[in-house]
């Protein structure tokens, strides 16, 4: 577990939140929604390997 990763996910969260606010304020609501979606996708991609490990370990644990 990498503390770095947590910080990075947090940073992306903040950035997305601020972007959301700015875009909503200038009326571009569709763009705001897109950025939120993009943020979720990016974070998922960052942790995809961890999630894959998680599922593997759960699978092996239950087969035991």
């Amino acid at each position: 577990m990498d503390v770095n990763l947590i910080f990075r996910i947090a940073a992306i969260g903040i950035v997305v939140a601020v972007l959301n606010r700015v875009l909503n304020q200038s009326g571009r609501e569709e763009m705001a929604m897109m950025t939120t979606l993009a943020g979720v996708v990016v974070v998922l991609m960052m942790v995809i390997s961890l999630i894959s490990n998680l599922f593997d370990s759960v699978r092996t644990m239950f087969r035991l």
């Binding site: 990075r8 940073a11 992306i12 950035v15 997305v16 601020v18 972007l19 700015v22 875009l23 304020q25 200038s26 009326g27 571009r28 990016v42 960052m46």
Partner: protein, 168 residues
Amino acid sequence: MGGLLIITASGLLGILFSNRLSSRYNELKNLRRFMQMLETEVTYGATPLPAALRNISNKAEGLISSFFVCISDSLTDRRFYTLWDAWVFAADTALADSSLQRSDIELVKSFGSILGGSDRADQKKHFELFYLQLKHQEDAALEEIKRSSKMYRSLGFLLGIAVFVVLV
């Protein structure tokens, strides 16, 4: 370091976009101002266009100045035989680097079709109409600034941070 570079580059890009909006507004305002000077030369002085345009280009600066000078020179050099041709050419070259949008440039071009083509009273009416249309564009530009200028600036920096975070 690399990260700082990415963030500043992205931020500057955002500022650039934001500035384009405000310079469009300024250019439109300038255009209107110098067109009013041109109107004075035309309706009061009855000065022929090549001389009138050159007089005003001396008082103007930057893009508008080079726009007027381009028309004036191409007419006196006989590169074009009608005002319309010279006007359109100048609009396509001198105004190409401006922050003016296509709708603004089309508006300017359309004015070239009636400039110099009728008597003073008629020209005055056309000038009045042109000012109204320019004011309309100016108001739209101002609206645009209020709406999007801050957005572009924030967008620039934030995207820069996002990229930095993802890559690092």
